[in-house]
């Protein structure tokens, strides 16, 4: 049920504390082939960029919230500190959703998918990944339309005076990247179906994470 790595209790021992978050690892032995190898390389490249951006955004968010606290203690109003962290939050939400898709670690309820045999599960996941790819791609187009309309209006944020469409442009990009990742998973799982290399038990599609 959980993807939290569960150590086993030893008698009278005092084991080291378990990891607060599951160790993340690349999905085990995804099917390969010339096209998939290129796509995986591209995916990993995008992942590295996203991970770097996540770290940057977290640091910026932390900094701006702390500056705000310090500013208030000194009776100083720091213009744009809250806005920076809120915009950072939006970016972080989209980046982390994308990275979570890469690792297939979205929250899901897998009552049926765990109960059915691996071949059926693999076919099911192939279909779900295709649905994800199509929907997210369409949402990327819709989000682009949303951003383009707002660009015409030319609204800017109250404190930082940043054009809103700059931030809104994160949405179509994020949706497009997530759509590509779903498509990659569709290709991987599809190849598993064709080669009868069924999804392993620990890679049933998307992990169930409950805190």
């Amino acid at each position: 049920m959980s993807d939290v790595a569960v150590p086993v209790a030893g008698p009278e021992s005092e084991p080291a504390l378990p990891h607060a978050v599951p160790e993340i690892a690349e999905p085990s032995q995804p099917p390969s082939g010339p096209i998939l190898r290129v796509l995986h390389a591209l995916d990993r490249l995008v992942l590295r960029v996203e991970q770097g951006l996540i770290l940057l955004v977290v640091v910026v968010m932390l900094g701006s919230v702390v500056i705000q606290v310090v500013g208030r203690l000194l009776n100083q109003s720091i213009t744009g500190a809250m806005e920076t962290s809120v915009f950072g939050m939006l970016a972080l939400a989209l980046l982390s959703a994308s990275v979570t898709t890469h690792y297939r670690r979205h929250i899901s309820i897998d009552i049926l998918s765990r109960a059915i045999p691996p071949p059926a599960r693999t076919v099911l996941m192939t279909g779900i990944n295709l649905i994800g790819a199509v929907l997210l791609l369409y949402l990327a187009r819709v989000a682009w339309f949303f951003m383009a309309v707002n660009r015409e209006f030319g609204d800017v944020s109250p404190a930082l005076k940043v054009p809103y469409w700059w931030l809104q442009s994160l949405l179509p990009f994020a949706f497009a990247v997530i759509a590509c990742r779903f498509f990659l998973h569709f290709l991987e799982d599809g190849k598993r179906v064709l080669t009868r290399n069924w999804l392993p038990r620990d890679l049933h599609g998307h992990a169930d994470i409950r805190m």
């Binding site: 049920m1 959980s2 939290v4 569960v6 150590p7 086993v8 209790a9 504390l17 378990p18 990891h19 607060a20 978050v21 599951p22 160790e23 993340i24 996540i54 770290l55 977290v58 932390l62 919230v65 702390v66 606290v69 962290s85 809120v86 915009f87 950072g88 939050m89 939006l90 972080l92 939400a93 980046l95 982390s96 994308s98 990275v99 979570t100 670690r105 979205h106 929250i107 309820i109 009552i111 049926l112 765990r114 099911l124 779900i128 649905i131 929907l135 369409y138 949402l139 187009r141 819709v142 949303f146 309309v149 931030l167 809104q168 949405l171 179509p172 599609g205 994470i209 409950r210 805190m211």
Partner: protein, 456 residues
């Protein structure tokens, strides 16, 4: 087939087949908006998509569908930028990761054990208090069971507590801390329902004491009826040693409580301070984490957080559909037909949430059901803050209820016991939690007394 029925069936089908929950909500929301725009029928929508834009009317209709779907990114953007409290979700989770990977949590547990262990049923109470602290700080019931279980289970066995009692206690206690600040479920409930987060935090204090009290009562009863249980010996030296080594650890919850309850910082600001404090203590004072490991921890945390935030983002768009179609109003009207009293409504909500808690994770359950239930609850004159506490307690009971109770499976794996044995062991504790839930549900003052006091 009505639009609502199609949407519900699509959502349930996707959810049960293991699709990511955010995708199940996204498909349902997009489909519902498209169906509304295309005239309400699935066949009309499919015909429109199939024929494409061959005629001007079809082009206009397709554009209409897209214009309607624009509400999804718009709601995501507008609501995210209007809710600074969301910042607290990744930051508190990061702080929890750092202190669990480091030493703060472990030293706190040692202090609690040294202080309470010598009392009658002291080790059991120490486990309960330790779990509440640990779950609140780490944000994870699974990690709490493993951490507290690893330390206190051998000690409880040594002192004569039965295997079944120890397993049941630790499994149950892992779930109860999520009501204590900085509780992420409460923050998410506040963000979705527009309830005051500070008031929710204050409201959670007495209910968590009631819950721990109920479980402690059973522990005392167990100790009274089982003469073989020994008490830990009080050791002043051990108390001093643990206090000395745990000074920085004790300051962590204190800083959180003082800054939030004292009004010195908002929960969002407290989350940033918590991360900074955890980094300073674990890296430079305890030297339990290397500076270069922080980036890896941050990325790992954000993968976990990404799962929650993706549901949160799409759920914001889902609430637009609910409001647009006046679903809560219709639900209220329907409910009023069958349930006339506030008490009846509260019973119905408890039953619904207990079922949901058995099947769904706590964050998804809040994000999906709070927008539906909150407007109905307000129509029955239920206090929003009180409802938030009822929500969380019901869902935390879901952690230890079959068939999907996470704590049961974590415990089963960790202690290498069959799930049935763990379920049997938790049964008396679940009964005590039901009693506590009854008190908290039907005596609103338990949750609201301190809130009223804080308002002056």
């Amino acid at each position: 087939m009505s639009t609502s029925l199609i949407i519900t069936l699509v959502f349930i089908a996707l959810m049960l087949t293991g699709a990511p929950l955010f995708l199940a909500i996204a498909v349902s929301t997009a489909l519902s908006l498209a169906l509304i725009e295309s005239g309400g029928g699935l066949s009309e929508l499919l015909a429109l998509l199939w024929s494409g834009s061959e005629t001007i009317q079809e082009s206009e209709a397709l554009f209409g569908v897209m214009a309607r779907l624009v509400n999804i990114p718009q709601e995501m953007f507008d609501k995210t930028t209007a809710m600074p409290i969301m910042i607290a979700i990744p930051l508190f989770t990061l702080a929890g990761t750092i202190i669990t990977e480091g030493q703060i949590s472990k030293r706190l547990i040692n202090i609690i054990k040294a202080l309470f262990g010598f009392l009658p049923a002291g080790l059991a109470v120490a486990a309960l208090v330790g779990c509440a602290f640990f779950a609140a700080l780490s944000g994870s019931s699974a990690v709490t069971i493993m951490a507290i279980g690893g330390i206190l289970y051998p000690a409880m066995m040594r002192d004569g507590y039965s295997d079944r009692f120890s397993l049941g206690l630790i499994t149950t206690a892992g779930a109860i801390g999520i009501l204590a600040p900085p509780s992420l479920p409460l923050i998410i409930f506040g963000a979705v329902s527009q309830a005051d987060i500070n008031q929710l935090f204050i409201a959670g204090i007495v209910p968590i004491i009631v819950t721990i009290g109920a479980l402690s009562l059973y522990s005392f009863y167990f100790v009274l009826t089982n003469k073989e249980v020994k008490r830990e010996r009080f050791s002043g030296a051990e108390v001093l040693t643990t206090l000395k080594s745990g000074v920085w650890s004790m300051a962590f919850p204190l800083i959180l409580l003082v800054t939030i309850y004292g009004g010195y910082a908002t929960p969002t600001e407290a989350s940033a301070l918590a991360v900074l404090y955890a980094i300073v203590v674990e890296v430079f004072i305890h030297r339990a984490i290397r500076l270069r490991d922080l980036s890896k921890l941050t990325i790992e945390t954000m993968v976990l957080v990404g799962g929650i935030l993706s549901i949160l983002l799409i759920a914001l768009a889902f609430t637009y559909y609910l409001a647009d179609q006046q679903v809560p109003d219709k639900m209220t009207a329907l409910m009023k037909e069958y349930v006339s009293s506030k008490t009846g409504f509260l019973i119905a909500v408890n039953i619904l949430l207990l079922i949901v808690g058995c099947l769904m994770d706590i964050f998804s359950a809040i994000l999906i059901f709070a927008p539906l239930i909150v407007p109905v609850a307000l129509a029955y004159d239920v206090d929003l803050v009180h409802l938030g506490i009822i929500f969380i307690i019901n869902l935390e009971i879901g952690f230890i209820t079959p068939p999907m109770g996470l704590s049961l499976f974590v415990s089963s794996n960790f202690f290498r016991r069959p799930s049935n044995e763990i379920i049997y062991a938790t049964l008396p504790f679940v009964i005590m939690l039901f009693l506590a839930l009854g008190v908290i549900t039907f005596v609103p003052e338990v949750s609201l007394f301190l809130v009223e006091l804080s308002k002056g």
